[in-house]
Each structure stands twice: as C-alpha cells, then as structure tokens.
Subunit: 418 residues, 2 copies
C-alpha cells in the first residue's frame, strides 16, 4: 500500500449512525495498513491542526463506534465560502494536509461538506498536491442529491414513526376526558422527509397520524383547524405531525410567528408544535399536548434502523476503497435496485452533482389534500426503517456507548488565526 495518511472529518448535525460510518472508515483503513487521523470538530480541527490519532484507540473502541450516537471526534457548523473568498483557509487546509502527509481526505457530511471536499480537491489539483477527496454522505434531513437516501435518515425516520405510534396510543387512551389533540414536531427546515416518516406510524383515514404538515405545502390555518376539529369529531382525538419548516403562503416560517416576549419581557422560544398547539387551544378550545423531540430524534441510536446502520457502514467502507483507488471528488451513494424485495448497492457519484444541491420530496409522495403521505411514499420510506440494531446494554440498564481517548498528534505548523 502507498504510504500516506487518511484524514477523516465529521461535519454538520450529527446522527445516530455517523459514528458507524467512522467505524467502518477506520476499520477498512486499518485492514489496509493505512494510518487514519480524524479532525477534531470537523474542518475546524483540520484548520487548527487539531488532528486525532485514531491508532491510539483500541480495536474494541473503534468497533463500539458502530453503536454509539453523536459525533465521536466532534463536528462543526462551518461552511467554507468559494475558493476566491476563502482562499487563506483553503490554503491553510492544504498546508495542514501536506504537513501530515495526508493523501486521502474523507469529509462526512451533507451538501455543504460535499462542496468543501470538492473545492479542496480543486485546490490540491491547482497546487499539484496529490490528494484524493471523497465526500461521505450523512444527514437526517435526507436532502442529498443523487443518493436514494442518506445514512442517518433511516434511524431518525424509525424514531419518528415509532414515537408517533406510541404517543398516539397514549392520546387514544386519554382522549375521553383529557388530551384530544397532540402535535409532534419533526425536524426538516426545507424538506418534509422526517414528517413524512411519521406517516408510517399508521395507515387508513382514522389511524394516527391524522394530519401531517409539510414544508412543501403552505400552512393555511383555517383549513388546518377545520380538519383537526373534523378528526376529533370523527375519531375522538387527533394526532398531528408537523415539520419544523412549514410556511404560510407568503413564505414566512410558522416557527417564527411566535418569537414574542412573555409577560416579563423574556424571549419566548417556541417552534411549530408549540405554536400549533396554541392555535388549537385558542380557536378550538380543545385540550392539547405537544412534543418537541429536537436532538433526541437524531441521536436515538437505541432505536436505529438496521437498514440505515448497514448503509452507514457501507458508505464508510466504500469511501476508503474509492480513496485508495484514487477516485477523486466522488461520494459513495446508495442506489436502490429493487423496492420489493428492497435491494440497494453503493456506487460512486461525482461530488459536483451533489454539492449545494438539495433534494425535495417528490410531489407524488404527498397526498392530494396535502395532509398525508401516499403509497409511493410508503414504498420509498418503509424499507429505510426496517430492522432493529440495538446497542449492547450494560448491567446498569444503559447502552454501552464508547468515549474515545481522542489524543492529538503534535502540531507541525504555527497556529492559524482564521
């Protein structure tokens, strides 16, 4: 095997299975005698030359990453701008890569990270530095182009479907004398993928969730409230799944409609579920409960989808394979080859087809009335939440999640202020 180092970094919001990808990357590289460094806190660690020596971690610890949520090396929310606008940072990045003999750079993230990996590869090319850049897909938002689905989404989708089913049973039991409307807020600022996954909790006109609000359709309050009342009249209670990204017809985010001050002048943090619950209470005078799972939905490794885990591992392995083959500026993507039985494979796609694109839900996935998912959506979504992959539990009743040592290699360059 060629000498040189592989640098791996995590980017953006973490998921229940991004560490599974990391685990596969490191295990695959180790099997091929390639040294792996991991940037601390994503691209920032690369800029700051804070590079974790993964060879200091035991084989057991690296294996345990596959069942540990969060981002084991730290992630970041930093988007590099264009090569021209951010040239000093790109050049610093190249300096750090060069200083540590990095020949393969794997960036595990979403659209922005694909863009960064692409630009780094262009810069390396410009400077004649031999570097292979591979993007590795990850996002609970499921909004990456080209790939059929994104590692991380399936587990968040499973969490959503199971949680909606469970709380719906609760509300059904209480509705006669207590809560009649329940609102579940799902992540998804621009696309309703996770809200749609909530639809897997039930099927049929009277099954929960009874109404789903998608960012792809305008929020029309009078229509929404009329439908809630109609469901309560017919079924006895109403479970609503709302995407955090729903907007009114004039393009304002409903989540921003609150944002007021409380009676003491303090900032009121709300969100969509809180807002909708308030409208139901004010206008329909119905007892309402609501939930904002927030980070729980993307870190619930205890409820990971086995399909999702397998794909997270597969893209990690493929990324190393591609890198070591010198396949530059690509990303391993999931290609669905069959719906029933569900079959998929990993293929290489050029980063420039993925960077900065955003995949919306197909129109055919949203029911004509705008408040539910279609059979086509079920056919797409259902395989992604299939199978269970629970973590091992300790005697204390808690999952055995691993914490790495994360020992940095000594810096070889002066500090960078950028």
């Amino acid at each position: 095997m060629a000498s040189g180092t592989l640098l791996y970094a995590q980017s953006g919001g973490v998921t229940a299975v991004i560490n599974a990808t990391a685990s596969a990357v490191i295990q695959t590289a180790r099997a091929r005698k390639v040294k792996v460094l991991a940037a601390r806190n994503g691209i920032l660690g690369a800029l700051r030359e804070e590079l974790i020596d993964t060879s200091r971690e035991s084989a057991a610890a690296i294996a345990a990453l596959a069942h540990t949520p969060g981002g084991a090396f730290g992630s970041c929310r930093v988007k590099l701008k264009s090569l021209d606008a951010d040239r000093p940072r790109y050049e610093r990045l190249l300096d750090v890569l060069r200083a540590h003999d990095v020949r393969w750079f794997l960036y595990n993230g979403g659209n922005d990270s694909a863009d960064t990996a692409l630009k780094v590869s262009q810069l390396a090319d410009e400077y004649g530095y031999p570097l292979t850049c591979v993007g590795v897909p990850k996002t609970v938002d499921n909004d990456l182009a080209v790939t059929d689905c994104c590692p991380g989404f399936g587990s968040a989708a499973k969490y959503t479907a199971v949680s909606v089913r469970e709380c719906a049973l609760d509300v059904a039991a209480m509705a006669d004398t207590s809560t009649k409307v329940f609102v579940y807020e799902a992540m998804g600022r621009h696309a309703g993928w996770l809200a749609a996954a909530g639809g897997l909790a039930g099927n049929g006109p009277d099954a929960a969730p009874h109404l789903i609000l998608f960012p792809e359709r305008p929020y029309v309050e009078a229509d929404f409230l009329r439908r809630v009342q109609a469901v309560v009249d017919r079924v006895g209670y109403c479970v609503v799944v709302a995407s955090e990204g729903i907007q009114t017809a004039d393009g304002r985010f409903v989540a921003d409609a609150g944002g007021g001050k409380d009676s003491f002048g303090h900032t009121q943090l709300g969100g969509v579920a809180s807002f909708l619950a308030g409208r139901v209470k004010d206008e329909l005078k119905l007892k309402v409960h609501w939930t904002l799972p927030d980070y729980l939905q993307r870190s619930a490794r205890h409820l990971a989808s086995k399909t999702d885990l397998a794909q997270a591992l597969a893209v990690g392995k493929a990324a190393v394979d591609y890198a070591l083959k010198g396949m530059n500026a690509v990303m391993p993507v999931i290609t669905r080859t069959s719906d029933a039985p569900y079959r998929w494979k990993v293929e290489a796609a050029p980063l420039d087809r993925i960077a900065n694109h955003e995949k919306k839900m197909p129109k055919a996935f949203i029911r004509k009335d705008g408040y539910g998912i279609t059979d086509a959506a079920r056919q797409y979504l259902e395989p992604l939440i299939r199978g269970e992959a629970p973590p091992p539990y300790g005697r204390d009743g808690l999952p055995r999640y691993v914490t790495l040592k994360n020992i940095l290699v000594p810096a070889r360059l002066p500090a960078f202020e950028g």
Copy 2:
C-alpha cells in the same frame, strides 16, 4: 371457583407497561376461570355501563398487551369526591357492579384511584354487597406511598436516562461551533423522580447531565445561570435536566412564568425547558436547544425496563390473587428486600395507607448543592431501569402493538346522567 365477574379499570395518565398489568390480570383470571370485564375509559365506563367483554379477545391479543403501551381499554382523568359529596355516582357504580355480578373490582391507577377503590369498598360494605376491591399501582410519577416504586416509573426513568445520554453525545459533538446548552424537560409536577432518573445518564462532575432542577428545591435564576456559564466554561457545553414542576422560592411554577402572548396576540404555550432556554439565550447569549418529550417519555414501550415490566406483570397477577382470596381494600406493592443484588417481592398493603398520600423524593437523594443526585439516589434508581424488554417488531420496522376489539357487553340498566 366462586361465580361472579371481575371488573378491571385503568385510571389517570397511562404508562409503557400499564397494559402489561392488564395482561397479567386477564391471564391470571382466565387461568382461574373467572370472567373479566374491563371498563371503557376507566371509572367513566363503569358509570356509563360501558363494559368491555375481554373474553372476546384472543389469548394472543391478551399476551400482546404485555408489550403494548398506552391504555388498551381507555383511561380517564376523573376523581370521585367524598362518599357524601358524590353519593349518586358511587351508588350508580354499585348498581352497575351488581347488575353484572361483579364481585371483584380492580382499579389500576395512582393515589386518586386508590382512594376511589377504597370508597367503593366502604360503600359496598355499607349496602351489604359482597365486593372485594383491590387497587393496582401505576404511575410514571413514582409518588405512591408504601410501595418502593411504581410500575410505569422504571420504564419512563430508563427512557429519560437513555435519552439524556444520547442527546448529551449530540451536544458534545456540536458545542464548538453550535449548541452549547441543552435543556431536557422531564415530567413530575410535584416530585422530581423522573428528573432524578436523568441523572443516571452520567456520573462525575463533568459528565452530562451537568445540572438537574428539582421541584423539591427552589429555582433561583441567578444561581442557575451562573452555574450554566461555569459548566460551559469548564466542559464546553452544559446539559440541563429540568422537572416540569420547578418553582421559585415564593411557590410560583416556573412553567407558568411564560404563558404570555406572541406578537399576534396568540397564546404562547411554553413549559419549563422553553422558559429556561429563553433565559440562557437572553442572559448568557449562548446557543441553546431544548426538548419537551411530553407523552413520549411515558409511552416509550420500545425502551421499557425489564425490571419495570416484571413488576407491572407481578402486581397484576397479585391483584387477582388477592381479590379471589377476598383480601379487600388492599393494593399489591413492591417491597425491596435487597439493593445489591437487587431483590423485590410483592406484598399486600391497606389502601388507606396509600390513598391520597404522595411520596416525595427523600432529601438524601438530592445533592447538597441542589443540582444533582446522590449515590443513595443512584442505588435506589439504577435497579429500576435495569434490563431491556423490547417489543417484537414487524417486517415494517415498527413494534407489533396490539389493538383490541373492545366489544361491549349489552347494558342492563338505564343510561346514567352523571
């Protein structure tokens, strides 16, 4: 076996395992050839003479109740008043019991339900109607007297500890450039049991959760904010678990401090986590996320504690045993006989020692500084979340929760307006 019917009813907020108790009740009674009716929507079904014929359900369906959350027959939030103040309703209840030859009444709930079961037994005695009343414990709040713990609590506690551990890993990965403070809101209006369970997620001064806010201690905002900042400075991020019931020193619920109007004059629904997050944002200028799991925490059968499940089944079986032995006005309670190894047994306790009492957390369970749990609390709590008892999953990736037919027996009395 004596002829006659057993009536079972569920009351108050449901849990992940109250149906397991129902499953054990029906299975135990069936084995002894006793007919079981279940009141629809708790005591209301008994008053309305809406009685479900459980013999119409298959053995498989009754077995599946043991892994199905919610309340399979419906529950209710109705508290009967004193015998004098609510005599017409108590007498109607007795009429319905008599009309269906009910000789054993099992009421599955919390303090209020124990009180109702006690009063029904007193009334039956007064009228010379041969009836054995048994209370069956259930509550995620863990606030029943006499019993060491309450079925339902262990599973909600496990959900809380696992969820806090998972979201803490998420925040740790994001803190460098994004979320620095995370607030998790736990149920518990009067006692901090579930918030305390969040403390099981980690141990040691730098482990999440870094701060726990209990209803047993006054909320002092300046002190809280100072501590949040100190943890962020020291650890890099801060995870807070807050009980929904925290109060200021003058006895006002913090959750009610919001309750304002948004900029459009709409009601703002908030809660404790939302409020605390707003204070952190306003005063410390730190990026903050928060979660309100709400019903998810008490319906998460997918994450049930095996200990809790075993206890929920055991009290169901014991309740039938006690009833058929004619042990009147008692409740099967959990007695802890050993901490290490954890051992417990079920014993009968008189309802009048349980009705209307409320068990607070012992002072010795809260750390001296007021922001964490002690080793004594860990020793008490840890066995209750021990062991996993996942439901079976279908090919669709969802738990196989059962829905009963819930067929009513024909009414024998005129309708009751009460």
